[in-house]
Symmetry: C2
Subunit: 161 residues, 2 copies
């Protein structure tokens, strides 16, 4: 059985994110899934995604944490309601805030692993704590506060309402 990523459940109009949208042909196409009670995603930076030669650019790491965080938040909201991500009503999340602590330089080369832990699901807010590791070592920690927005708000942003 093939496991669909959280992002595979996003409708087309929400699938153009540069970080994780399957329809953004220039983007990173990050894919996040459950692994027990944690969420996980993997990404291998391009050779030019560097801060200094040999080390990954911190802005990319922040981006990956952001997308893994909002994806995890959506998945957590559906799981908290005990239903599948393709069931209605839809739960859409935007990032309210992002915090990233760079613990040590992240080496370029190894595939990076992001692991998310759902810290809080409360009302419209989901908080996700994320570690980013390279070759088994945690290099970066992040926290994403995501807020659920009504589908009508999303459609208004898109000029479709």
């Amino acid at each position: 059985m093939t496991v669909k990523a959280f992002q595979d459940y996003y409708p087309d109009h929400l699938s153009y994110c540069y970080g994780c949208g399957r329809l953004n042909e220039h983007g990173h196409h990050l894919q996040s899934t459950w692994d027990g009670d944690e969420t996980v995603a993997h990404f291998t930076p391009a050779p030019y995604h560097i801060s200094i030669p040999g080390y990954v650019y911190g802005g990319l790491l922040a981006s990956l944490i952001d997308c893994h965080g909002t994806g995890s938040a959506a998945a957590a909201a559906y799981r908290a309601e005990g239903r599948a991500m393709d069931s209605e009503p839809a739960r859409r999340f935007l990032t309210a805030s992002l915090h990233v602590d760079y613990l040590k330089p992240t080496p370029l080369g190894p595939e990076l692993e992001l692991r998310g832990r759902i810290a809080e699901v409360k009302g419209r807010k989901v908080v996700v704590d994320i570690t980013l590791s390279a070759a088994g070592e945690v290099c970066v920690k992040g926290r994403v506060v995501a807020v659920q927005v009504p589908e009508a708000y999303v459609l208004q942003m898109l000029g479709e309402s």
Copy 2:
């Protein structure tokens, strides 16, 4: 007189950053300068730098804040010592932490303006508060905590020591 950007003073081996390195041919080439006591930078996202169609991808905004923050931190360190950025000894900064609050969706289209305010210069640490505006409206606020690292540490990272 042409004003050089902070990043123009970085030595070649520190000029490959995807966000602001002048020698990274794939990167964003962000350039930051003083404007009185504030630091300023401008950037126009590409059409594919989106979260949803019509709005800029939050990961890119975090990246711009990160690079403008470390550049501003370096500039502030030299200014605090009353000397030019091409004088010795060199002051090199890495991001320790990055915090970003997304206040409202950032529209795609207008040139974005980043403005930095030096909140603290203390020992090896510089804290920079940054606003990111589109068409005159602040859409995102950020805080970068940058720490000065010895040049020897940078060279060790590069495998040159």
